[in-house]
């Protein structure tokens, strides 16, 4: 198929960016979206132009590095996938595809489609852990039975890949799905109880400090999340925060 691409080009964080049009031809429907971008970049390099910078790494939907806003949706039109797993069979010959970086005040553009997600790192550093040193003397793993239901629910929350699609999709640029998922993982497990109060307070405080917006329950984040993280995690985080404020 032949396509027109409208891509955001921006030299660096301090330069002004703009949409630029490109044409690609003979794209196979079996290609992944990023393989289509590879074709474009090979074309640009061969003609002496600068290729489009975009983040990507594992190309199997788990590292959370890829981050494009395609035709107005984070990770494009398919559901439950990251951009690297989006396939060209979702598009048709003659289509015009708009490709932008994830947009949020807390995710400044570094170059073209690459954004800075260090805000997520700082939120994790504020409390996304259990304080246990490596010793080889921790108790036997089976000494603490955990109900299958709680373990499975914690796993569902822990499956977040930290890509930032929730923030990019939210009209308020809220990071509550991301933070809620991490808070939930630990809130659902007995190991997480000891530090529960400090954790939720510190992580939420850092989230606010980074300039993410609030949640107004539109639910776009849940729909666009490539890993299907549920809105329930936001509710759980709010309950944890409420509980913490009463202690």
């Amino acid at each position: 198929m032949n396509l027109t691409l409208k891509i955001w080009r921006q030299k660096d964080a301090s330069s002004k960016g703009q949409m630029v049009d490109y044409k690609v031809t003979d794209i196979s429907e079996h290609m992944s979206f990023l393989e289509m971008m590879d074709v474009l970049n090979e074309q640009l390099v061969n003609s002496g132009d600068e290729p489009v910078a975009f983040d990507h790494d594992c190309r199997e939907g788990i590292c959370g590095m890829c981050s494009m806003y395609i035709n107005g949706e984070a990770h494009g039109p398919d559901r439950g996938v990251t951009t690297c797993q989006l396939h060209m069979r979702m598009f048709k010959d003659g289509d015009t595809i708009t490709i932008e970086p994830f947009r949020a005040a807390a995710f400044p553009v570094i170059k073209d489609l690459v954004v800075d997600r260090m805000a997520f790192e700082r939120i994790q550093q504020a409390g996304g852990y259990i304080s246990v040193n490596t010793s080889g003397n921790t108790q036997d793993a089976n000494a603490l039975p955990i109900s299958k239901h709680a373990a499975d629910e914690a796993m569902d929350a822990a499956t977040c890949i930290g890509c930032g699609a929730c923030v990019a999709s939210c009209k308020n640029s809220s990071a509550m799905l991301f933070v809620g998922a991490k808070v939930s993982q630990y809130a659902l497990l007995p190991q997480g109880q000891v530090e529960a109060v400090d954790r939720v307070q510190n992580m939420v405080a850092q989230m606010d400090l980074e300039g993410f917006g609030n949640c107004t329950n539109t639910g776009a984040c849940e729909i666009e999340c490539p890993k299907g993280i549920s809105l329930e995690n936001i509710a759980r985080m709010n309950r944890e925060l409420m509980k913490a404020s009463l202690k």
């Binding site: 590879d38 290729p51 199997e60 590292c63 550093q125 852990y129 499975d152 914690a154």
Partner: protein
Amino acid sequence: MALDSKVPKGSIKDKWTDYKNHIDLVNPANKRHIDVIVVGTGLAGGSAAATLAELGYNVKAFAYQDSPRRAHSIAAQGGINAAKNYQGDGDSTYRLFYDTVKGGDYRSREANVYRLAEVSANIIDQCVAQGVPFARDYGGLLDNRSFGGVLVSRTFYAKGQTGQQLLLGAYSAMNRQIARGKIEMFNRHEMLDVVKVDGKARGIIARDLITGKIERHSAHAVVIATGGYGNVYFLSTNAMGSNATAAWKIHKKGAFFANPCYTQIHPTCIPRSGDYQSKLTLMSESLRNDGRIWVPKHMDDVMAIREGRKKPTDLTEEERDYYLERRYPAFGNLVPRDVASRAAKERCDAGYGVNATGEAVYLDFKSAINRYGKEQAKIHNITNASEEKIYELGQAIVEAKYGNLFQMYEKIVDENPYKTPMMIYPATHYTMGGIWVDYNLMTTVPGLYCIGEANFSDHGANRLGASALMQGLADGYFVLPYTIGDYLSDDIRTGEIPTNTPEFDAVEKEVTDRIDFFMNNKGSKSVDHFHKRLGNVMWDKVGMARNEKGLKEAMAEIKAIREEFWKEVKVPGTANEMNLELEKAGRVADFLELGELFAKDALERNESCGGHFREESVELDGEQKGEAKRNDTDFAFVSAWEYKGEPADAVLHKEELEFKDIELKQRSYK
């Protein structure tokens, strides 16, 4: 230079304990004055950085991604082994040790493997304490599954995302230390060379991938945890950015490179679909617990399937060749990876491949779905359940176990694997070879350590499933933090290592000269052009089956591609900005050297062992006819290569392997 493995004396069971009891320690106050650089933040690097910081060292950690959480350990699916014997099926430290040595085709160092098996149980305890949500049964205890090449269930897992959860555990431990200021994290930084002072590793030169700035970082020891070199094949299951630059650069500065020819071709990957393919996707080996591998028995069915006249589901049981079950009745679909890969290649080379390229076999879940369905019907007291109902009940169980993998397959291939068998074919996945290290995980350069997939130490010529995660975390959490202390105890009075010295000047100049070359070279071909050509040579001539003629050709061809690369490569943009083509150029330049050493090592090793299969070395008769033939008389050693300029001129050093606790046997999975 003679290789000294520094394996402690004593019985294998006591070596590690005795060793820990007698090494020098650094007192907590002195640790504050010692800096350690850790390059790479996957399971090995991440766990090492966190643990060293907990101990009190000042850690500087480097990742080329924008967060440690994105290192490629994250993509490991199936699980992590540990000799817990929770299933009561006779597992023990010795059995895990034995299985790992046997699975590695008797080409690993016994003492290292025993230690790995010994600390494996601690890893699970540690991860659970960190809040890693492993799969559990209804009683709330940890669940296990079985993997290829073993007869017990010792694999712990978190759905099909075990690597992700373990990495997030190590990442959370790192975050705690970053918050305390004990780890200084350098995201989007790439190490471009190591700096030695008086023969010791004392720092690195790194490039800030956002600004292009070249930086000097010093430390009292340097730890390389940068993963494997599978991307030398261009197409592999590695991440796009996975590279061998750090490993290759330390090799050029004196670290020996061991067994580069030991590469694992994983049997269950999604087959390639076209020339534009940028990477291959793995389907976890855990699928072989429940999936049965087959091709049609008759050639007319193969043709009918390829031409779309028949579907795989049209074929009756009698018309299918479950070739692994046929050839290896004892292990069946759970033979080790190298055996399963070669068996798939054998069938496809014989013309039985089931897709258009002729490079695919089926992985079928119908039997498992029916088996689980019947079990569920019984559990739920459903009598006379219809076939559809049984299938529905069974599908729910398979979905709970492998749902994310099935979804991934469907997204890529656009076929529903619950309804029609998956198509799979082998792909490069893991490299057992790597930087040579002694028992302390130190390379041949003092103060320079190498851990995880980047070193050669534990898997011999073939790695068993679910053992990579085990080794990465064993090295980082439980081995390196002890062994490095013994070395650093001499550095308590050294003080901070200055970076304004001639040693740093010289290495920085080498780095900037190379970058300047790339920026100024007015070539005509892209970096990927050369990488793809290298990959084709590697796959065709240094892939699943190798022979003398092909390997000699490969060496010559890789050299020619390398020479052309240095004349014709084109890198757009500038050096002082984010420049992804420049990053790739440096990595491919190193792969073009490593690939040649790889072929040379494969040529030198004229035996078949594990992932290294020489067509000249097979059993000629008897029950094992056609199977790989190892040669313990001439090749029971580690090949450690010393850099001497051109890869073809590398000098071979041998570390003889002694097997005192395990009898050397030809592997049989029949």
